[in-house]
């Protein structure tokens, strides 16, 4: 097998990929916010004493942790509208699938973080007259989140890569655009290599940045 690499068509079509990368970033922004934010809510409910909160959140986590994101996206795009009559566009289907999955995974991270805090911290807050919510928000979570930051940034990296799954419903993101170029120019090798390179170019510096952040936080302990 011999292949002569030729990126000319890729470079000529950089705008197409640029549009795709913008789509990727938009999906990422939406899913990382909803996923990690919603996960905090679910994680707190997972830890709650009342079964009214604990059991539904537990069920939520199990459902979305044990089904493939790809299947969820496809389900929201093709099955959900038929069942409910509600139109779902590719963006919404992708955001729902990725966010719900991320919520489920990060909920477990938050819960583990909360559980890692010494019971004495809850006691101290309570003894001062603080309500459960106040103790949680002001005493427990700041320390817990600092502890689980590496796990959360890991999740963030996964979320970024998961955005490519949106291509299955033809949402305009990087992978989808590369496929377009490949189909028109008969250059799948260069097109998909370009996608890998783009993701690496974005993620590698971002990950290095989080390492620096983590080191700074550890120093401030």
């Amino acid at each position: 097998m011999e292949h002569t690499w030729d990126f000319a068509a890729i470079l000529a079509n950089w705008r197409v990929l640029w549009v795709g990368l913008q789509g990727t970033l938009i999906v990422f922004a939406a899913t990382v916010t909803l996923g990690l934010g919603g996960g905090l809510l679910v994680g707190v409910c997972r830890y709650a004493k009342t079964p009214l909160l604990r059991l539904p959140s537990m069920a939520f986590v199990e459902v979305f942790r044990n089904t493939p994101v790809l299947v969820q996206i496809i389900w929201f795009y093709y099955a959900f509208p038929i069942l409910t009559g509600i139109e779902v566009n590719p963006f919404l289907a992708a955001v729902l699938g990725i966010s719900l999955n991320t919520m489920a995974f990060s909920a477990e991270i938050y819960r583990a973080g909360i559980q890692s805090i010494e019971p004495g911290q809850w006691e101290a807050g309570r003894a001062l007259g603080m309500a459960y919510q106040q103790t949680l928000r002001r005493i427990i979570l700041p320390v817990a989140i600092k502890r689980i930051l590496p796990a959360l940034t890991n999740r963030g990296i996964e979320v970024f890569k998961m955005s490519t799954l949106a291509s299955v419903v033809a949402y305009v993101e990087t992978l989808n655009q590369a496929k377009l170029i490949a189909d028109l120019n008969f250059n799948p090798i260069e097109s998909y290599t370009a996608v890998a390179l783009i993701f690496f170019a974005v993620l590698y510096p971002a990950v290095q940045g989080t390492y620096i952040l983590e080191r700074m936080l550890r120093k401030s302990e």
Binding site: G120, E123, A124, A127, L128, G129, A131, V143, K146, E221
Partner: protein
């Protein structure tokens, strides 16, 4: 009688385990009461029932002449909001300090004031500095707890509780986790509070403190108060075999003649 706190027929059970089996006691304003008892006798449980960190299984607690909770159908019911308010009036200090690690010393002492009492930041900070001076740690305001010695941490914890202007203070073996050479500074701080007229219930194994500082000693055994009285009397002439055995276990303590 000017009782700040009155405990009547207090029972606490954890499942099948009965820890407190009918405690009756009163604490008067300005009094320092030391609670003695062997490990597992329920001292912490009793202390935690006073500020409702544990809910009594049975019995009534009266603070300043007002019954805590409501009696309905022969059962006591407690509203969390009432208990939160009550806890602001009862300071508690723990064996393991439980300072907030992500806050400076000053912030630790401001936290309850700002979050619970809704004091403004300036007022809370001034109050915090005042309390820090009271425990002799004015120079540590901007340190994080991790940089303090155990004795300093415990004095900050005391200042944190005092900043809420409590009616009484509960101390649960606050010197037990300290290196021996750091015990003295904390006991001295507590002694000063007694002298200033703070009402205190103190669980401790420091019999010297009980002897010299307490107005009254209670000995908890098998879920009831087995002996009580002035420390000079109870510690020197225990009336019961159990109390004698307990005192013998503290061989390090030598009563002054």
């Amino acid at each position: 009688m000017n009782a700040i706190l009155r405990i009547e027929n207090l029972h606490k059970r954890f499942g099948d385990l009965t820890v407190l089996a009918g405690i009756d006691a009163a604490v008067e304003a300005g009094e320092t009461v030391v609670l003695l008892g062997s490990s597992g006798s329920g001292k912490s449980t009793l202390l935690r029932c006073i500020n409702f960190m544990e809910t009594p299984t049975e019995g009534r607690i009266t603070l300043h002449g007002r019954l805590v909770g409501e009696e309905r159908g022969g059962v006591m019911r407690y509203r969390e909001s009432e208990l939160c308010k009550l806890r602001t009036r009862i300071g508690m200090v723990f064996q393991h300090f439980n300072l907030f690690p992500h806050m400076t010393v000053l912030r630790n002492i401001m936290e309850g004031q700002v979050t619970v009492l809704k004091r403004g930041a300036a007022e809370a900070a001034a109050k915090a500095r005042e309390q820090l001076a009271r425990v002799g740690l004015s120079d540590k305001a901007d340190e994080y707890p991790a940089r303090l010695s155990g004795g300093q941490k415990q004095r900050v914890a005391i200042a944190r509780a005092l900043a809420m202007d409590p009616d009484m203070m509960l101390f649960d073996e606050v010197t037990s986790a300290l290196d021996p050479e750091l015990v003295g500074e904390v006991l001295k701080t507590m002694r000063r509070l007694t002298e200033e007229g703070m009402t205190m219930v103190v669980v401790t194994h420091e019999l010297g403190f009980a002897y010299h500082v307490a107005n009254r000693v209670l000995f908890l055994d098998q879920g009831v108060i087995l002996e009580q009285g002035e420390p000079q009397q109870v510690l020197k002439e225990p009336a019961t075999q159990r109390m004698r055995e307990f005192l013998d276990g503290h061989s390090l303590f030598k009563l002054p003649d």
